[in-house]
Subunit: 119 residues, 2 copies
DNA sequence: CCGAATCCTTTAGGATACTG
DNA sequence: CAGTATCCTAAAGGATTCGG
């Protein structure tokens, strides 16, 4: 990667939260309740086991997510947000706000285009 | 793509600002001064013409960036942030803040690991 | 000067089968 | 239950050449 101005470190932040399933994984974990692997999986319809583990491992690597293994049969593993991961909450909230208005805006523009098409 | 909870629209926001060069492109344009294609290119060492145009087109599509063509020989094209694109400023600032501390944190952890390795 | 077009490489993401 | 291991596809990114 290239050198960036010190004032432009939001690329670094993006690296931690970008990934097809990371937004929704984080959303669920930020509810506060620890979730087991299969619970999380059920909350993410369409995700494969592989992708879920990959994304969780990445979040774990950044210490955003904590993985707790209960040594028992059958296995039980719980994922939860870390204290540090909680610091993402306001960041994601801000992004969320912008995302909502952005989506609405695009929808509005689309409707206007379809309207004027019939003129 | 899957369905997401309405409370989790930050994935939509990410779509607009993710891309290898988008963060740094936005950083430069958010300085406020319109920049010509080749000016921008010089500010982004390593980028190819193709990638620069592709990313700019995407940002233009979202109406985050405005493209003004001056019909003259040799051609002159200026890119600038739109009014709407300005609304990204606080969002990116928040991301930036988190990115800075996150980078520092990772660096710190790395140093500690190297320290304890010699014990 | 500001691209478009073509072709190629790399990475992200996915399908499927298997395991302690 | 909670994963690995393999193999494969699609998408992002890049190198190079050509053109108004």
């Amino acid at each position: 990667m290239q050198k960036k101005p010190a004032q432009c470190q939001f690329g670094a932040a993006l690296d931690s939260i970008v990934g097809k399933w990371k937004p929704i994984i984080l959303y669920h974990l930020l509810q506060g309740k620890p979730l087991r692997f299969n619970e999380l999986r059920r909350l993410l319809p369409g995700i494969t086991q592989r992708m879920l583990t990959l994304h969780l491992r990445e979040l774990e690597e950044e210490e955003i997510v904590k993985r707790v293994i209960y040594p028992q049969i059958p296995p039980k593993v719980e994922y939860s947000i870390t204290e540090y991961g909680m610091s993402l909450s306001p960041v994601l909230e801000t992004l969320h706000q912008w995302g909502v208005t952005h989506t609405e805006r695009k929808q509005l523009i689309k409707e206007i285009n379809e309207q004027t098409k019939t003129d």
